[in-house]
């Protein structure tokens, strides 16, 4: 019974990671690639770690470690994604030609890199 649960969690997690990998190859510009990969990879890694937490039930330390890594991933992945996206916008990475709206245009100070 626990094997079926672990198998289902592993399958969903691996498929989410595969979607993230296909997205980073196929998406047309940097911002779309970022928005695909961060969410899907965090979900996939979190589900695989959750299945590891279920697999070692007699050992509380392993479950705690797996849950700590999940917490850490959920905490840090959006911060890192936000910082790298801000950097990409400030160094003027090209946008896809299908992008119609850019709310941040002319709002960053060119020298100090602060919002005006």
């Amino acid at each position: 019974m626990i094997d079926i649960l672990i198998g289902v969690l592993c399958t969903i997690g691996a498929l989410a990671i595969l979607i993230a990998a296909v997205g980073i190859v196929r998406m047309p510009d940097f911002y779309l690639r970022l928005s695909v990969t961060v969410k899907a990879a965090t979900l996939g890694g979190g589900l695989l770690l959750l299945s590891a937490a279920f697999y070692f039930p007699e050992d509380v330390s392993v479950t705690t470690k797996a849950l700590a890594i999940i917490f850490f991933l959920i905490l840090t992945a959006p911060v890192a994604a936000h910082l790298i996206a801000r950097t990409a916008y400030l160094i003027k990475t090209d946008q896809w030609e299908g992008t119609t709206q850019d709310d941040l245009a002319d709002k960053y100070n060119e020298e100090t890199h602060e919002l005006e």
Partner: protein
């Protein structure tokens, strides 16, 4: 089909194909920020591979390595974004 053979023949090949696809972007990537997120995704998939491998072999010690890798991935992305912004070009 037991859980071990399912992981061996289904889960690990899916993760291996994902790693290959991310490597395509790491080598092609037109800008440096593309390569940074490809590296970040590569380490996240590495954490997943280590976790699945620890389930497969029953060695729970490998989870510690995954924790350290998660730390290094975060610090690496932060450092890359800080210095690329200071350098100020593509």
């Amino acid at each position: 089909m037991t859980l071990d053979s399912y992981i061996d023949y289904v889960i690990l090949p899916i993760l291996a194909v994902s790693l290959l696809l991310v490597f395509i972007r790491l080598f092609k990537g037109p800008t440096i920020v593309d390569r940074v997120i490809a590296l970040d995704l590569l380490i996240t998939i590495g954490i997943s591979v280590i976790t699945v491998y620890s389930i497969n072999t029953g060695k729970s010690t490998l989870i510690d390595v995954a924790m350290i890798l998660a730390l290094i991935a975060f610090l690496g992305t932060i450092a890359f974004s800080y210095y690329i912004e200071k350098r100020g070009r593509k």
